[in-house]
Symmetry: C2
Subunit: 889 residues, 2 copies
């Protein structure tokens, strides 16, 4: 039985391809083809498809027919160039390069100068008149081929060069003469013979075959596999192989090589931007050994080539409708385009280019919106280290809150406040922070802690304040007694200037220049376009009128999470402690009444700042011991007091506190008496908060403000919790409205942040007007990870070993997303119109926003400084979906 | 337009019903009908259906036709009895009682003596010749009717009686004369008039109508609603109403009333068992005011009635094929049967009755297996307080490990060990226990702690040892300095005798008599029958050869969980600490090698005890700080040392330990560096354990033992964790087998105890030969409950307020079961033959076993003493399923 076979085409001349064929020809190959087709000067060549690579990977042999195809394309190339591979008088030289569908820089192998042998090197000399260049090219080819194709230890070649230089008494490779290099060719060939037992292959066609195999094989080297795993690139894509005529930028003063961008990638300005070197090779530009010249100089030096190049740049940008990154070589006055791709750019540039191109009619608004990386926007919203500053990193920690700050390292909050009020800049530097440190944090430019993760007290509060914070700097060893800290052998005294970069998680000794945030007109333009497309609403997590106002400036459409616990800190802490310590109802009620008064003011401020936009207020969530001193500290203090003549009365006072602390002590506070469990155990607490909210709302209404009240009950795991608390909440609302003689629309909802709540969301929906996904806690309980513990202890190792592909507290994990999706489906099934949002920190992470969009949520909520990112990410999610839909049509 | 209507029957004469109609006629009504039909002497009457009740509940009126039906059934009853309701010469009196499909004792309302008025009371006097009895009946009727039907405050009637007695100068109700009671009738009528504004209804038919409405309404009283919520009885069932001719056991010395069982409910012996009172009413027997006589006395007193009764008992038992509980009344020599139902019994009786009835051919084996409550078996496996002992409870705590113990309260482990070894019985009494206390726990009869929940160290270790343990006794205030503890005002010195009941969670001052466990031949018989039917296998959680052997005796079919952390305690603790504290590889390896040697012996012992049965060994699970001193204790110790002249060297040693403790310190250890995360972070640790397991297995094989090895990797949340650790495990196995020159079958599996593992079980199944559901941790993370914290802090309140229907750490919660089911489905879909079991404590809870059976698991595993319960529960699950299937056929 015979099978009928469709003949598969494995090799494409550059003329036969185009930019859309990147899965077949790879990124490099398809762009070379595109440039060729639109008439730009590309050194001729052909591309072997990824499919050929895949067949080779699977079978360890070329697919049938590939050899013949290569032969015929090579013959055509030789004909086109009027040169022959290995020719003794005018040899064709080619490069053999990998080119996968997605850029994997440096991961796979390349062979240059292929086609040289003892015969053809003479032809090269004849053509170039440059013996040294020719022998140098030859020895480079043997060296590269030996290493890449024959897998000979590269050091052997390096050692031979070193020995030769020693023999010749020279220091630099460039000092070796043509005869020296010829000698090196022999030495290299001897190395090949010794290591492989065979002569270096002189047959160019054989050289080509082996090189192609080497590139195919490099798809599966460990480096490339790891890279693909990291960037989630499929193993089944394969790499294409580009065989291209060599051109040389180092053939004298009419030759040059360079890199350019069609617009300024730093600023986005529409101007000529690039560097080049005369009489040099591509590597020299990249390596930065010689000082490059700005591209504008080329106008004087080689005016004709310059015109050709700038024309090509214009053509490419118009063609790709994007800013392009180009590699070119000028060989003896003739321009050759060696590569192009869409160019990387800064956030500012991305915005400007997007807006300008839209104005120029090159792209539409949707495309402009898709052209800006949301995560990049962060650069524009916080001060940062001057990118040109030279920075010696003293220690690394966790990038807990973005932005950079400079100031005196100060070790306690009182002193930080004192100096801060005196106008000094300080970095509050602590083991970790507690609510007691709040005044110091307010006074500081930034916060640095040796312990704690990205949800430690320091991190959460700093993010809320928009202040830079670096936490978990394990190398930081604070010696409070001597008021110094050590990092390894470096000792830093209190008051010494340090700089921190909370975006990178870096500590620097001394002052680093900062550059201010630079949101531009373009920033607002792109975001306003984004708003036209996005389906997800974007709210903010804000606990103060100031944060709320800031977020509103950034486009927040409401508050998705106002944490009331932050209102229990600072000067309120003594009242809160009084409430917790109260041993009779009168004392407790007095404390609660005091809290009622201050909470009411808190809420009035927030409702005013958010006039007519929804405000979701979460009732108290954290365990009460967070408002009390630390157990160990207190025990040590009492023990010490007993030896240091402290009065019995004072000790008894401390012991009373100790008793309260012990009563509240928990083995796993994350999973203990907190959230709605507090509301069940101490009903007066939630009732006070609800009363404060509703009284505040009534006051606002009377003042002509429109408060949109959403009360949120946290940490529900069982519907009965919500049922009971909703009833109690409604009773209080009813009472207050009756007292005030007014009415009020309000919603009562819950956080879904426990797996049990997620899998019983149909039951819970019955008593909830909205769900807000608390993805921080949901991640903690779904994984069984305590964020505080894992970020310091084993997250780094997990990321290193690729056990986790990313930090699930930054980007929503697929498993956690699955739990969320179960909840969305159950909740919507039970109550189709239920409002669904996210108020975990993932709400400000662009990747996660996409997941939330796809899950069908109504809004995300994030810290004020992340609101713009979320707006953009939400728009991109909608647009990407439309594109997918139209792709599938 | 007219609707054609099927006439619904709402009233059934007792002759028309049967025992199968309990959903229509209620439990009481259907059994009265059944007795009537089989010819037993039941006072005639009729039953109004639950459907009528439901219609009344919904519409607040009788369904159409009900009045007529009542009229005609009443007429028939009057005809049958030859008496008329309200008749002035020979009145019919009836009772009106509720009777729901499921017993709800005392929850709903009853009216007795209905039909009395000024006229008919005279008829009653005429018939009984007893004025006092007649007026007493009349005033009781008015009182009961007033309270139940007219909703008059009962205290008003009681006050009137008290006042009358004061006026008459008597103390007891029984001292009131017939004229006194007649006076009371007038007073009661006046109360009714005053409270309702209407005269007491004299029309018997009206009395009946109101009483029926009162019973209907009582279905929805708060008490009944709460009861139904608690016992998960549907609100939609409704109650039936039984209208029955009154008979009186207090009509002189030929009348009597009593309660009897067809077999001895304490022992199960097939003998006459019951009590009665001559010339008394039913309430008198139950109230225990008068001393009852054994039923055998009736043979002499009223031989004819006795014969009739014993005959009726025989008939009923044969008819119901179960031991029956009977209420009867003898009215002037004539026996009347007033109620029957299946009788409650002790565990021993349940077993004996089941086995005897099977022998007698009354029931088959399956029925016998269904007749024993698994939870009851616990009574038979542990010593317990003598049920006849008088016990004054000193304090209550959590029932952490079942059984009872008596001994001297001893406050530290060393002293406990010392006394224990000297042959004294001690109860180790601690704040909470730590691994350091292990030797004291071994030496003690029981363990008592003031802190900690049901998974505290004390609880877990005690259950493993099968020792009684009471934890979380908050009232227990230990004063270590004076070596006393206080409970309220009671002071207990160290060395005083106390008794604890770990089944009930009770502490008693002084010695309580204990009765030993009494597993009988019947016990083994019923369990062997159970084994014939169950589909679920039953394994045990055991960490020592002794536990393993004990469990095997109880029928365990393997070990489902051998925790290796318990092997790290006791005399191994110093080695473990050495390993943790090691600051170089040599020290660590030396410690690991020492551990290897002892672990190997541990496993050899277990494999031998479980020869040819599977042994699932869990690699180390708890966080390492569990093996180190407590942070706070150590800090206090160091602080104290600085003042008490401790040498600097010693302090430095302590500080070194402190450093290690701080390094391991975690905010939420439950969610921290434990389980497979340890295996990833310290690969040598798991490798050592795997080596010990495989070397032990090889040794056993050489000795002719058949080890069935299952290695379990705990706390996996991401498939990559298992993938990496499985690879490393297999490498070690491969190495050891190569060294030993042998082979070995083994399984490698994982625990599913985190929600993320559950929702990604399809991915995880790829690398797991089995899943073992760790339902303790799964409950903790699904709920976000730290068991240690919630059991002490708010579980009681949650249960009180019915926010939780039961403790989810004892019986599997439906939400957690949902997560488990998601995992089962995904796991089986990916790997249909994957072995699935449970090794959480729920594995020994009968209700949970049923859930696991329904989820389709292969086995459950529980502590040795729970194995029999699980075997029985598993069998009942299978049989119940068969019954359901056949019911649906």
């Amino acid at each position: 039985m015979t099978m009928s076979k469709t003949k598969t085409k494995y090799v494409y001349d550059f003329e036969e391809g185009n930019a859309q064929m990147k899965y077949v020809l790879g990124g490099k190959g398809s762009n070379l083809a595109e440039m060729t087709v639109i008439g730009l000067p590309v050194p001729p060549g052909f591309t072997i498809t990824t499919e050929a690579c895949n067949i080779y990977s699977a079978s360890n042999q070329f697919p049938p027919g590939l050899e013949n195809e290569i032969d015929s394309h090579l013959a055509e190339l030789e004909k086109k160039m009027g040169k022959k591979l290995g020719d003794g008088s005018d040899p064709l030289l080619v490069s053999v390069r990998s080119g996968a569908p997605f850029s994997m820089p440096g991961m796979m192998d390349t062979v240059l100068n292929l086609g040289l042998n003892d015969d053809s090197v003479k032809g090269l000399i004849k053509q170039t008149g440059d013996e040294r260049f020719s022998y140098d090219s030859y020895r480079r080819f043997i060296q590269m081929f030996g290493k890449v194709v024959l897998r000979i230890e590269g050091q052997l070649f390096e050692d031979a060069i070193t020995e030769l230089k020693k023999n010749k008494g020279v220091k630099l490779d460039t000092e070796l003469s043509a005869p020296d290099l010829l000698e090196l060719v022999s030495t290299f060939k001897a190395i090949v013979k010794k290591e492989t037992g065979k002569d270096f292959p002189t047959q160019p066609r054989e050289q080509l075959r082996f090189s192609i195999i080497a590139v195919f094989s490099s798809w599966n080297n460990k480096r490339a596999q790891d890279y693909r795993k990291l960037y989630k690139i499929s193993d089944s894509l394969g790499t294409a192989v580009n065989v291209q005529t060599m051109v040389f930028g180092n053939k004298g003063d009419t030759s040059a090589t360079g890199v350019c961008f069609t617009r300024n990638p730093a600023t986005g300005e529409n101007e000529i931007y690039g560097d080049y070197l005369t009489n040099a090779q591509g590597e020299d530009v990249v390596a930065g050994i010689r000082i490059t010249k700005p591209l504008t100089d080329l106008d004087n030096e080689m005016p004709e080539a310059y015109v050709r190049l700038t024309d090509a740049m214009t053509i490419l940008e118009k063609h790709y409708r994007d800013m392009c990154d180009i590699e070119f070589t000028i060989e003896q006055g003739k321009l050759w385009m060696l590569q192009t791709r869409v160019g990387k750019r800064t956030a500012a540039a991305a915005l400007k280019i997007a807006v300008d191109m839209e104005k120029e009619g090159l792209i539409d608004k949707k495309t402009a919106v898709m052209r800006v990386e949301p995560a990049q926007l962060d650069q524009l919203l916080h001060p940062r280290f001057d990118p040109d500053a030279r920075v010696d990193v003293l220690a690394k920690g966790l990038n807990a809150s973005p932005g950079a700050a400079v100031g005196k390292a100060i070790f306690d909050a009182d002193k930080a406040e004192e100096l801060g009020q005196a106008g000094e800049k300080v970095i509050l530097t602590r083991w970790e922070t507690t609510p007691d440190d709040l005044h110091g944090m307010i006074a500081a430019q930034g916060i640095l802690t040796s312990h704690g993760g990205k949800t430690s007290h320091a991190a959460v509060v700093a993010r809320g304040m928009g202040k830079p914070c670096v936490t978990g700097v394990e190398a930081l060893d604070i010696d409070m007694a001597n008021r110094t800290f050590n990092v390894g052998n470096t000792k830093v005294k209190e008051g010494d200037i340090i700089s921190i970069d909370g975006t990178a998680g870096i500590v620097v000794l001394g002052e680093v220049d900062l550059v201010p945030p630079t949101p531009t007109e373009d920033f607002n333009t792109v975001l306003s376009w984004a708003d036209e497309y996005r389906r997800l609403k974007v709210r903010t997590n804000a606990d103060t009128p100031e944060d709320a106002a800031k977020a509103r400036e950034f486009g927040a459409e409401g508050i998705g999470l106002a944490r009331t616990e932050h209102m229990f800190l600072g000067d309120r802490l003594p009242i809160v402690r009084k409430m917790i310590l109260a041993d009779n109802e009168d004392d407790r009620n007095e404390a609660l009444n005091n809290l009622l008064d201050v909470q009411r003011e808190d809420f009035v401020g927030i409702f005013k700042a958010m006039d007519s936009l929804p405000v979701t207020i979460r009732l108290l969530d954290p365990p009460l011991h967070e408002f009390l001193p630390n157990l160990t500290d207190l025990m040590v203090d009492i023990t010490r007091s007993e030896f240091t003549g402290v009065s019995e009365e004072e000790i008894n006072e401390k012991k009373k506190m100790l008793h309260a602390v012990e009563m509240q002590h928990e083995a796993n506070p994350m999973l203990g008496l907190r959230g709605c469990r507090l509301g069940i155990m101490i009903p007066e607490l939630y009732k006070m908060q609800v009363r404060a909210i509703v009284e505040a709302a009534c006051r606002c209404k009377k003042e002509g403000i429109d408060p949109v009240v959403e009360i949120m009950i946290p940490l529900v795991s069982i519907v009965t919790e919500l049922q009971v608390l909703r009833e109690e909440t409604e009773q209080v609302i009813h009472d207050v409205l009756a007292e005030q003689g007014t009415d009020l629309d309000y919603l009562i909802g819950t956080m879904i942040e426990l797996p049990r709540a997620a899998v019983t969301s149909d039951e819970i929906a019955e008593y909830a007007d909205f769900f807000s996904y608390g993805t921080n806690d949901l991640t903690q309980t779904t994984f069984g990870f305590s964020r505080d513990d894992i970020e310091g202890k084993f997250l780094a190792r997990y990321l290193d070993r690729k056990i986790l592909p990313f930090n699930p507290f930054e980007t929503i994990d697929p498993g956690v997303a699955k739990v969320l999706k179960i909840s969305v489906d159950l909740g919507r099934k039970a109550k189709p119109k239920i409002k669904l949002g996210v108020c975990g920190e993932h709400g400000g992470d662009p990747e996660s926003v996409k997941v939330f969009h796809e899950a069908g949520l109504d809004y995300v909520s994030c810290s004020p400084y992340r609101v713009p990112l979320a707006r953009l990410a939400a728009a991109q999610s909608t647009i990407a979906e439309e594109v997918e839909v139209s792709d599938n049509r």
